[in-house]
């Protein structure tokens, strides 16, 4: 079975500073992985590199998404092929309404996958249904993207987009940061409803809170730019109790 994601010996620099230093990761369809690590370990850099952010230079190594080498791919090509990144700090775009943006994104991906784009009426039906699942108010549609949104609203917006775009691999970067219990629950429900035997999820976090609700199959620990330790779903609790220095010892 072709892995959804295959990262081999990845080395990434940002302005000549080495951030990712020989990272290896394989995610197969149906699997949920989590990457935990202290601040500064390179987790967000990894998520941006996988989504092909132009500011990050891959010095060496390879990234294959669905069997295809994506090092030379543009961000929208990867998105259209089914790669989704939920941002840690989603940016605001004033004057552009959520509904405009969502329709453009959804139809863009559908077109790339040779599906018929939704017309205005169809789209509204689809989006309102998903919004109801995530308990998002309808007036959200006509507000500007993420403008004046609370942290929780922004994260719910990210998950809404994930549910609408139906990617093959969803990378969720610190999705639980800034969420109260209710928001966390609805986000987690959204993520869980998304899981199936063909899709993959990569949860990036340094707290284990979200992992109580969205249980990963495999948990890695990232430090100094690489994955130093891999364990099962009990690992987050061990880290919570014993800290990252304990992990470092285990790795040596």
């Amino acid at each position: 079975m072709t892995p959804l994601l295959e990262v081999k010996d990845l080395v990434v620099t940002v302005e000549d500073k080495l951030i990712i230093n020989g990272l290896n990761l394989t995610i197969k369809p149906g699997e949920s992985h989590a990457i935990m690590g202290p601040n500064g370990s390179g987790k967000t850099t990894l998520s941006n590199v996988l989504a092909r952010h132009p500011d990050y230079t891959v010095k060496s190594g390879s990234i294959r998404f669905n069997g295809q080498d994506i090092l030379e791919s543009e961000p929208e090509e990867c998105a259209q092929q089914g790669l989704f990144l939920s941002f840690q700090y989603p940016v605001a775009i004033p004057g552009v309404s959520n509904v405009t943006f969502l329709k453009a994104a959804v139809n863009g991906v559908r077109k790339a996958q040779s599906k018929q784009p939704y017309d205005a009426v169809e789209f509204l039906q689809v989006v309102k249904k998903k919004m109801a699942e995530l308990q998002i108010d309808e007036d959200f549609l006509y507000r500007s993207i993420n403008e004046g949104f609370s942290g929780g609203e922004k994260k719910r917006n990210e998950i809404l987009q994930m549910l609408l775009l139906e990617p093959k691999l969803a990378i969720l970067d610190e999705t639980d940061s800034g969420l109260d219990v209710d928001a966390l629950r609805s986000v987690a429900d959204g993520v869980n409803s998304f899981r199936n035997s063909e899709r993959g999820i990569l949860l990036i976090t340094h707290y284990q809170r979200l992992l109580d609700y969205v249980t990963p199959d495999i948990v890695h620990v990232m430090m100094d730019g690489k994955l130093i330790f891999t364990g099962g779903k009990e690992l987050p609790h061990q880290i919570e109790e014993k800290g990252y220095s304990w992990v470092k010892e285990q790795a040596e």
Binding site: P75, A79, L85, F87, V91, G95, T100, A104, G108
Partner: protein
């Protein structure tokens, strides 16, 4: 920067309105002197006061020099090489569309204002100006029933000389500036609108210009008077064919709003901007000014400027009446080698006057985009307020954007807030859109449209659509 080709493609949509109509024109020989002016006046069958006024303006023009303080550069204009009068060959009076030269009607259809459709559906009266003479004036009967006068200015000079004499030049006197002075001497057409007391003009008024004959300057003069308690919304949209010679467009627009009156003046300007080497293109040197003479009066200027090789215009409001309001909403897009030096002046004279300025500049290619503004609150302008927001977006590393506001407060209780920002499209916003599968070109389009949204919202519906098309985004209209 790898982004440059995408940016260039996005902004450089090919000029779809570039073609010309082959119609024989009855043009005057090039050159400007007293005889030319008398010729124009005679062709227009103007009364004596009009000739006198033109000649006074011409005499004054001879004594003054072209201004050079704007941030625009151009080769010197040869005023003697321009033909100041050009009329298509046809009967002098047209009572219905049947009498219009079919070639001309076809021109209007191509440019998007099919007169037949408009007559049936939108109910918009169209005063279509072809070169220097009005060709068709429709809906006069409907407007006449409401008491609104909407006709070519040349007709107004003949039919309503008292009104014209009272108001013409009262907002922009011929001594105001070089180009207004020239216009006063040689204007050949434009619109005249008079809305009597208490009348809300039943439809949006529209006029449409074209410059066709080579080397013909276009000097329109528009005068709109809104009497007490009246309302009128006026749309101005321009289009011109591709030519090699630079073409001068020095129009003057005067608006007068009396007590409780409102005038809304919207412009979508898409004149030929010149080619990628900066050759050709229209020079748009326009003087537009409105006087809020009455208490509680209001004048709004909304403009989308995407064309012309050089744009030099400051639609302004003089807020004389207490509680009067002035508004200026503008999007100015420049690309290739276009130059724009535009903005507004809000002169607060009366008490409790307010003004709002929202100006968005987008500079791409090698263009230069300047906002110049003046907010002046005089000693009697008690409790006057102004809010100004001017933002510039620079697309690509060869464009330039400048902001030159001038803020004068001579009244203690005046409250003036001005903010300006200049930046490029943020990488974060672009990446966010692209990560959602939206191509870079579409993402830029979305973001720029969002940037201009506050201004687009001020436009009457049909213009808003054309404006958005001009910036290559039309999704909002479909969702509604």
């Amino acid at each position: 920067m790898s982004k440059q080709p995408e940016i260039d493609d996005f902004v450089g949509n090919s000029y779809s309105a570039g073609f010309s109509t082959d119609i024989e024109s009855d043009s005057a020989p090039p050159g400007l002197n007293e005889d030319t002016i008398r010729l124009i006046s005679a062709k227009k069958q103007e009364p004596e006061f009009m000739v006198e006024w033109r000649l006074k303006a011409y005499e004054h023009w001879l004594t003054i020099k072209e201004p050079n303080w704007a941030k625009v550069q151009h080769p010197p204009i040869s005023y003697q090489d321009i033909s100041y009068y050009s009329a298509p060959k046809q009967k002098p009076k047209l009572n219905s569309l049947d009498e219009v030269d079919p070639e001309i009607l076809r021109t209007y259809e191509k440019l998007g204002i099919p007169l037949h459709e408009q007559k049936m559906l939108a109910g918009v009266a169209v005063d279509a100006v072809f070169d220097s003479v009005s060709v068709a004036t429709t809906f006069k009967e409907n407007l006449a029933a409401a008491g609104v006068i909407f006709c070519p200015i040349s007709e107004a000079v003949q039919k309503y000389p008292d009104l014209v004499q009272q108001y013409l030049g009262s907002v922009v006197p011929y001594t105001d500036n070089y180009f207004a002075c020239l216009n006063s001497a040689v204007f050949t057409d434009g619109s005249f609108v008079f809305v009597p007391k208490g009348v809300r003009c039943p439809m949006e008024l529209s006029t449409y210009f074209r410059i066709n004959a080579m080397n013909t300057g276009q000097f329109e003069r528009t005068l709109i008077i809104a009497e007490d308690d009246s309302y009128v919304s006026y749309l101005e949209g321009c289009s011109a064919p591709m030519r090699d010679e630079n073409q001068l467009h020095a129009a003057v627009v005067e608006l007068v709003a009396l007590n409780n009156a409102q005038i809304k003046y919207s412009t979508v300007q898409n004149w030929y901007p010149g080619d990628k080497e900066g050759k050709g293109g229209i020079y748009n040197f326009v003087t537009k000014r409105g006087q809020c003479r009455g208490k509680n009066s209001k004048i709004s200027w909304t403009q989308i400027e995407t064309g012309s090789a050089i744009t030099w215009k400051y639609p302004s409001c003089v807020l004389m009446g207490d509680n009067s309001q002035g508004e200026f909403y503008s999007v100015a897009l420049t690309n290739n080698l276009q130059q724009a030096d535009t903005g507004t002046k809000m002169i607060h004279i009366g008490a409790n006057t307010t003004s709002t300025i929202i100006a968005k500049g987008i500079a791409a290619g090698h263009s230069s985009n300047t906002f110049r503004g003046l907010v002046d609150t005089g000693p009697r302008a008690r409790n006057s307020r102004n809010f100004t927001q001017c933002d510039s977006l620079i697309l690509g590393d060869k464009a330039a954007a400048h902001t030159f506001p001038n803020i004068k407060a001579k009244n203690q209780s005046a409250n003036i807030e001005h903010e300006a920002t200049t930046s490029k499209i943020s990488e974060d916003q672009l990446f966010y859109c692209r990560q959602r599968g939206i191509s870079e070109e579409d993402a830029i389009s979305l973001i720029v449209n969002g940037f201009c949204k506050q201004v687009f919202q001020e436009l009457p519906m049909e213009f808003a659509v054309e404006a958005q098309k001009l910036l290559e985004v039309n999704l909002e209209g479909a969702i509604g």
